[in-house]
């Protein structure tokens, strides 16, 4: 089985932005154009996460999502501001293959996970977890690391699996945008705690960082954002490097 190399687009509609440590934002380009570029480079998946709409209590902006979906012949996950079965249904209708839910399930109603999994199948439901280290454990945050929830990350991971999630995206509030490597302990603990696939994100600053998290935590996928957006490396470079280090990736 290959490890999935996923291009993650953090979007402040209509632009992909580069959040620095979940705060200041820098415009990087349009999602549809960047998604096409990463598809052409050989990405295994594209994730589109609207990082502001949930916080500002705005509705999902479907137009750019549809445009992005139309560029791809690989799986496409969409997250940000998902609050209802109706939102999810609309996203699938315009070409999303999976939806990534965070704030609403953490803050308001976790049964949205159960309902969504029952209707759309668990393979279509990704739970996006933003983890921040506090003393000896990690706590769930929402809205780009701004809002504390009091929920323990590992307990939440097990709970969402039980509720029918098909995949977890784990992001680290501490490591995001710093390009200094992943939170290895967090990644490994999550992978070992659940039986569903886990995608790790936040912190890739070099090819070596990516190799390290794969070897240490054995995730099903790695989501990369700024390392790609700044053009420091391409998806092709990542795959070539991992292959040379005996890690199986798709061609």
């Amino acid at each position: 089985m290959t490890v999935r190399i996923i291009a993650k687009l953090d979007v402040k509609p209509p632009y992909v932005v580069k959040p620095v440590h979940f705060e200041g934002l820098r415009k990087m380009g349009l999602p549809s154009q960047m998604a096409k570029k990463y598809y052409d480079q050989g990405a295994d998946e594209v994730m589109y996460i609207d990082i502001v709409s949930s916080l500002y209590q705005r509705d999902i902006i479907f137009e750019e999502i549809e445009k992005t979906a139309n560029e791809l012949f690989i799986p496409f996950s969409v997250g940000g501001a998902i609050r209802s079965i109706d939102d999810i249904s609309k996203l699938f209708h315009i070409g999303a293959d999976k939806v990534a839910i965070n704030t609403y399930a953490v803050q308001k109603d976790p049964t949205l996970i159960n309902k969504a999994a029952e209707i759309f199948g668990n393979q279509a439901i990704v739970i996006n977890i933003e983890a921040k280290r506090i003393d000896n454990h990690w706590e769930c945050y929402t809205d780009c690391g701004r809002v504390q929830s009091g929920k323990d990350v590992l307990e939440w991971a097990i709970e969402v699996e039980r509720r029918g999630a098909g995949e977890i995206l784990i992001q680290s509030v501490d490591k995001d945008g710093r390009n200094r490597g992943f939170d290895l302990e967090l990644s490994k603990k999550i992978v070992d705690s659940v039986d569903i696939p886990v995608v790790v994100a936040s912190g890739a600053g070099s090819l070596k960082d990516i190799k390290e998290v794969i070897e240490y935590a054995k995730p099903s996928g790695v989501a990369i954002a700024s390392l790609l957006h700044y053009g420091k490396v391409t998806i092709g470079d990542i795959k070539k490097y991992l292959k040379a280090n005996n890690i199986k990736v798709s061609k």
């Binding site: 089985m1 290959t2 490890v3 999935r4 598809y39 295994d44 979906a69 139309n70 012949f73 690989i74 799986p75 699938f92 209708h93 315009i94 070409g95 293959d97 209707i119 759309f120 199948g121 668990n122 393979q123 279509a124 098909g166 995949e167 039986d195 569903i196 696939p197 886990v198 099903s220 996928g221 798709s250 061609k251």
Partner: protein, 201 residues
């Protein structure tokens, strides 16, 4: 000769948008089938599906599509859940009768690894089939928790952490793929092109 590909639109056909796009990219013409009489207007049929076996059969019946599909003699390509329901029987949320085009049962994947099996994986071809012609890199995207168990009609297997499961089947003009060709880059588009070209030339 006309060559229109009908995509069956029923309650669990959430991925219809992507499949349509891929068939068009492969040079095909598409008609979305919502009513039973539309089976007469197409030359080949694609049966999509994401969700559970039980829901899929129920939705085919609710949409009055089940009888026309069962008695159909045209080539069919079942994708993911659409492949699974071509089987005799499924064991997802109880025991449900399938379309029985392929003598097989559908059961949870028996493997000590993460489920769903999600990501690009390779086909090990057992029997040559026009469906897989000319596809050099046989890597396709999988996204499933159940597998088709049978011993006949297998055209390829795929290895997931040491467990080999059926990844594509063919019984005469009935084809099924466990993976998502519409999510598998050029290899997937080539597969649709092969399906479009079956019986032509």
């Amino acid at each position: 000769m006309s060559n229109i590909i009908g995509i069956v639109n029923y309650g669990v056909a959430g991925n219809i948008h992507s499949i349509k796009k891929a068939i068009v990219a492969a040079g095909g013409s598409v008609l979305v089938i919502d009513k039973p009489e539309q089976f007469n207007d197409v030359d080949k049929i694609v049966l999509p599906g994401v969700g559970s076996f039980k829901d899929a059969m129920q939705e085919l019946e609710n949409g009055c599509l089940l009888d026309s599909l069962s008695s159909n003699k045209k080539p069919i390509l079942g994708i993911c859940l659409g492949m699974q329901v071509l089987s005799t029987i499924g064991f997802e949320y109880g025991k449900t009768r399938g379309l029985n085009f392929i003598e097989a049962e559908v059961k949870p994947i028996l493997v000590d690894a993460k489920i769903p099996h999600m990501g690009f994986n390779t086909l090990e071809v057992l029997e040559s089939s026009e469906l897989l012609n000319g596809i050099e890199n046989k890597e396709f995207y999988f996204m499933h928790s159940f597998e088709v168990v049978n011993y006949k009609n297998v055209i390829s297997l795929t290895d997931y952490n040491g467990h080999k499961f059926v990844s594509s089947i063919q019984n005469n003009n009935i084809y099924g793929v466990q993976f998502h060709p519409e999510k598998s880059r050029k290899a997937g588009i080539k597969l649709f092109e092969n399906f479009i070209n079956i019986g032509i030339s």
